[in-house]
């Protein structure tokens, strides 16, 4: 017994070092519930509070630009008001965002909630944003986050008043996308090189792609509303190994300067999940 204590005392520093290393590496490489708790701890309120204070000071620097953008969006939305349009025929009506066919009443599938970005980074390999809205305000993990100009990311963790958003500029982020022309189904990811450009892969070569084509979210996505802009094709490259393109896409959102965001809640998501579960069981 004495020898055990002597051993522990002699190598105590090494043992502490080993324990700390193992803790760090398990945090880094496990992908289970423990990992979720760790990420929850990391996105805690203390760090969020400090970020909020710094953000308040930084916000002054970009006020005019943000105002301009919000004005533009307001104008766009005002022009969508029913009082500004005339329907050519009362029997014909453009119906979007609906899912009940047996009723004339329209139902909202996507609900938008405004949120403020209090922390953001662009130059790391795994960039995250922090929103000043959390579970108390009805946010949940796996909701989409869009900006005024387009898609920004997905919520990965929520605490009471903050939520952690995996930005599109994250090596692990993947979003289903399509071309606005309506053909091809691809995947948007980031190669970590330039925060202004994303990479769109898996678009088959049978589709004609030109520089300047708009890339939007796909209708098959389970969280993003269809047709939201992601970016504009900047460079078309043929992948030698597969039958697909590698497209360089200029982001619609200026990730260097994001202040406001909208969190999109898909009110059909639960129903869709249940349906998918049934499919998996069979």
């Amino acid at each position: 017994m004495r020898n055990v204590f002597l051993f522990l005392r002699r190598y105590s520093v090494f043992i502490i070092f080993l324990v700390m290393q193992i803790m760090a590496l398990t945090m880094l490489f496990t992908n289970n519930r423990f990992h979720n708790t760790v990420m929850g701890m990391l996105s805690n309120e203390a760090a969020g509070d400090i970020n909020k204070r710094v953000d308040k000071a930084e916000e002054f620097l970009s006020l005019s630009e943000q105002n301009k953008k919000l004005r533009e969006q307001n104008a766009k939305l005002l022009s969508l008001l029913p009082s500004g349009t005339l329907l050519p025929d009362s029997a014909m009506e453009m119906v979007t965002d609906t899912f009940r066919l047996d009723s004339i009443k329209q139902y909202r599938q996507y609900q938008y909630m405004s949120a403020k970005v209090i922390s953001n980074s662009v130059f790391l390999q795994q960039n995250y944003m922090v929103l000043h809205r959390g579970s108390n305000q009805g946010l949940e993990a796996n909701m989409a986050v869009v900006g005024i100009d387009g898609v920004m990311g997905t919520i990965v963790h929520v605490s009471e008043n903050m939520s952690l958003v995996m930005s599109l500029l994250n090596r692990q982020s993947k979003v289903i996308a399509t071309l606005k022309k309506g053909s091809g189904l691809g995947e948007i990811s980031w190669d970590g090189k330039d925060p202004r450009y994303l990479v769109l892969t898996k678009i088959p070569k049978t589709v004609l792609v030109k520089k300047g084509d708009t890339v939007v979210t796909s209708p098959y996505s389970d969280k993003f509303p269809p047709g939201l802009p992601i970016g504009i094709v900047q460079e078309v490259e043929q992948d030698q190994e597969t039958n697909t393109y590698i497209l360089l896409v200029k982001t619609a959102v200026n990730f260097y300067n994001v202040q406001h965001a909208y969190v999109v809640k898909n009110r059909l998501e639960e129903e869709m999940d249940e349906l998918k579960k049934k499919m998996n069981k069979e």
Partner: protein
């Protein structure tokens, strides 16, 4: 000033510089990322015990991870250099830890060449481990080697500038 208070103030200052100034600098290139926070561990006094050093490294790594949203990445690298630091100093300057007063590793206390060797090797080890762990998650060998060289150079530049700007340990207590 009390050594303890002085180091706490330095800790806060270095973290503020890292998290709110360096992290907001527009990136020059994917490979050039200014990491500076770990210098706090290199500048701690000689006489700190190894257990305390590990605990301090744990705190520094954890807080940095909290802001970078990378669970365990910076923590692992910080703990590694904290573990290696005392034997490495012993190797450069054969002197017992108890023989030191309140001095910290600086140009004057260690001498020009040992100090630079100390800083360069420790920075390399920290970045090597950090970027290796990142490489295990994503990236390629080119990413690993390029980022190792780029970040090491920018970190060394930052440390040298900080050394020129702030004259640490002028008065011996």
């Amino acid at each position: 000033m009390n050594l303890f208070v002085k180091n706490i103030i330095r800790f806060i200052l270095i973290l503020v510089v890292q998290l709110f100034v360096l992290n907001n600098v527009p990136p020059l290139h994917q490979f050039i990322v200014p990491y500076f926070y770990f210098v706090f561990l290199l500048w701690l006094p000689f006489k700190i015990t190894r257990t305390n050093l590990l605990l301090v490294a744990f705190a520094v790594g954890y807080i940095t991870d909290m802001f970078y949203k990378t669970p365990g990445l910076h923590l692992a690298a910080c703990v590694l250099i904290a573990y290696i630091r005392p034997p490495f100093i012993q190797l450069l300057l054969p002197k017992e830890a108890t023989e030191w007063g309140n001095e910290e590793p600086t140009r004057k206390t260690m001498g020009q060449v040992p100090y630079m060797t100390y800083i360069i090797i420790m920075t390399l080890i920290h970045h090597f481990y950090l970027i290796l762990l990142e490489w295990l998650q994503f990236g390629s060998f080119l990413y690993f080697s390029g980022k190792l060289i780029g970040t090491t150079i920018i970190s060394l530049l930052l440390i040298m500038i900080a050394d020129l700007l702030f004259n640490r340990n002028t008065r011996t207590r």
